[in-house]
Symmetry: C2
Subunit: 203 residues, 2 copies
Amino acid sequence: MNKLPASLQKAIDFFDKLPSIGGKTARRLGFYLLRIPQSDLEEFAAILLELKKKSHYCKICMNLTEEEICAICTDSSRDSTMITVVEDVIDLLSMDAGNQYNGVYHVLHGRIDPLNYIGPEEIYIQQLLTRIKEDKNTIKEVILATNPNTEGEATALYIKKLILEVAPELRISRLAYGLPIGADLEYADYLTLQRAMEGRRDL
Amino acid sequence: MNKLPASLQKAIDFFDKLPSIGGKTARRLGFYLLRIPQSDLEEFAAILLELKKKSHYCKICMNLTEEEICAICTDSSRDSTMITVVEDVIDLLSMDAGNQYNGVYHVLHGRIDPLNYIGPEEIYIQQLLTRIKEDKNTIKEVILATNPNTEGEATALYIKKLILEVAPELRISRLAYGLPIGADLEYADYLTLQRAMEGRRDL
């Protein structure tokens, strides 16, 4: 079935390997690239080449940055007494999208997941503990915002235990469980409903 | 909201501009590229750079190829007495996927679409007519497989008229209308049902 030019087929194959892109979309993208100006292709090629070289982890919070310290950690208007611990940079972006939270972050770059051979040493827990130990007097609260699933729960509990060893007085919290805004009770799963019930508040 | 490294943001912005990729997918793809080996990025960058330079149109049928004449036109096992005219190379691939059709193709690279300022001169109709004129004695049938919508219909009718001027004896056909295989009558639109009714066959 070698009906396409080899170079086009290679571009399509690359897209096909990317997450959330299926075969048909990969093909459409390949053809699309053929139609955009050569200068755009060259620009994207240059971006790809420098992408990994320029991005690295912030020395403080492990967020991605091109500097030594990321824009969030250097922002003096943010409240550095509050650290939200997230699994991934994407989670950090979601947390920060609403501009509701004004504290700082720590990115674990994963979760403890023994079934996939990811132990506590594979993620950036030690850096968090060191940071807490060093800034024990300024940090007031650590919010463990790992995902609300088995691995996320286990990771949060594990980290909580370790934090209490180095800073027994620190407030450690977890995001609330409950119904998402705009949700329909009818479509909520049983566990979420149960948690929402347990966490109900007086009106 | 400049929270990501500039190089990563640029990669995400590029993905965001691609068709059928939304903002969230673009972000996921950007982060994914950060995790794959540098050699893969370099390979993809190289593919992008040569993509447009290597691919061009087949001299006979306007299919995409890296050679002068495409794999379909050079394949001597194919029946060159039958030309299927399609709007785009993607349509050619769809037609050819089932291995049912063994003739050759002609790619118009578009359809007549006055509302979008695409006239007959903007697509490869003239090349088709020249081809028919030159091979008048070998070509037996031209199947106008433009899309079953207003522009596709109009393009087919327009091309039919021109073909008859150069080859009045040629058989010119159009793909059948009807219900797609596996479809549910309940969900078929009125026009399709009407055409399926008109084209009904004795059992």
